[in-house]
Subunit: 264 residues, 2 copies
């Protein structure tokens, strides 16, 4: 099953467009007692998955928190992705890669064949040749950064309408396995992308929760013509809802609450 | 010694601004007989370093070719970087990362503390908050992508003067440990960056060799007011000059030839 069909299925079956971002900051993990010291990232990730899978349409993993542990981090990343996929849930690897030629091919192979992610996030800065090697994996999916939720989005993305150019190019490239990343803190722009530009594909929206995006507006403006096309990612306010030994119970409770608000 | 001082020293001592890009494509390595099968990337890289170190001011490694081998690739990357640093040569990790907040901090820590690179390349798409965590490592250095040598540079970088905006921001951020990447296939733009914008910092220039940039123009337009500030990276046309068992001899010959043309 390709990524879009899979997400449509989990969204429908589990009644939500909630995606949990598994970002295991080492400093945070150190506060939690009872994690397996030899493979904390994996142990933490598995416990989150065990207790939240029925409340999500997808998981997102940010690879930086694994890279920072060197080879051992990558081993745990690969095991965790395999575990998530066995749970029947699609996995987005948030890696924001962006390079060209044989380098981009190597990155795409690493993401889809070695780490075995179902989808990735990509930076558009280098243009089409940095996206094509990923798009060539037909069953997989790539979310292209358009407008992010951080302060620095003003530096380039909102200067000269760069985020619009990116969205237009993604429409022009016309691939079923390319979507966009639009931050939740800017729901007005989400509406522009849907209404003015007519983008009807999948949009990944981070920035709800700690970053303070408005969930109702994101839901209203973010869905496409078919009432679908939206994945809303929440990380810290779910996975670190509690620092207790049974952190996963608080995470499950939070995920359960968000799930209901994100029924599409 | 900080990165800029180190590069100035190797450039002066070895009489060149040549940087060799160690990009060990697996398909290429498979053509070479006699490499240690258990750690081909490392073996290949060491042989290149052993035979070319006196002809370069720096090495550049593209991490994608290591990531594609999973945890074993990362182990070899770390060993190769350590080996290069023992040779007294600065090492640029070409990783084009770009993320924000604690994620960017994790990437910076991975690059500078785990892999132990001296410098990195970064994508500017997410703005200042994606650069700051790297810039906070005072002795290390970050090259920000401005204008790349590929076809896709037309998609965004050359649309609305984005590459100029990036260069201007890097000037405005005013950090001694931030430089630019400008592709060799566009030497006219290199002149603009130096003359019109007055950027006087380090510029990393890929795209000579296989990609066909004009070396003389790059040398003429690329140096700064002090007759320095330039690192020209060449990869495939040196490291894969021959596919014979003693590939490193052909690589050394090519590097020796380029070195003399790049005396700054």
């Amino acid at each position: 099953m390709d990524f879009v069909s899979h997400v449509n299925k989990t969204s429908h079956d589990r009644g939500t467009c909630l995606c949990i971002g598994i970002d295991p900051h080492q400093k945070k993990l150190d506060e939690i007692e009872g994690l397996d010291k030899r493979s904390m990232l994996l142990d933490f990730g598995r416990k989150i998955v065990d207790h939240t899978r029925e409340f999500v349409c997808a998981y997102k993993i940010n690879i930086a928190f694994f890279e920072v542990h060197g080879a051992k981090g990558i081993e745990q990343l690969i095991e965790l992705i395999s575990y998530i996929k066995k749970s029947g849930t699609p996995l987005i690897l948030d890696c924001k890669r962006g390079d060209i030629g044989s380098t981009a091919e190597a990155y795409a192979k690493a993401c889809f064949e070695v780490y075995k992610a179902d989808a990735v996030t990509l930076s558009p800065y280098m243009g089409w040749d940095s996206v094509k090697p990923f798009a060539d994996y037909k069953g997989n999916f790539s979310f292209i950064l358009a407008l992010t939720s951080n302060e620095g989005a003003n530096d380039f993305q909102l200067s000269g309408g760069l985020y619009r150019k990116v969205a237009k190019k993604v429409i022009e490239w016309d691939k079923e396995n390319l979507g966009l990343v639009i931050g939740a803190t800017k729901p007005g722009y989400l509406r522009k992308i849907r209404k003015s530009l007519g983008f009807n594909g999948l949009i990944l929206v981070p920035g709800i929760g700690v970053q303070g995006g408005d969930l109702n507006k994101v839901m209203e403006y973010g869905i496409n013509n078919n009432g679908k096309g939206l994945i809303i990612s929440i990380s810290r306010s779910i996975i670190f809802a509690s620092m207790a030994r049974k952190f996963y119970e608080a995470a499950a409770k939070k995920a359960f609450e968000y799930r209901a608000k994100m029924n599409i």
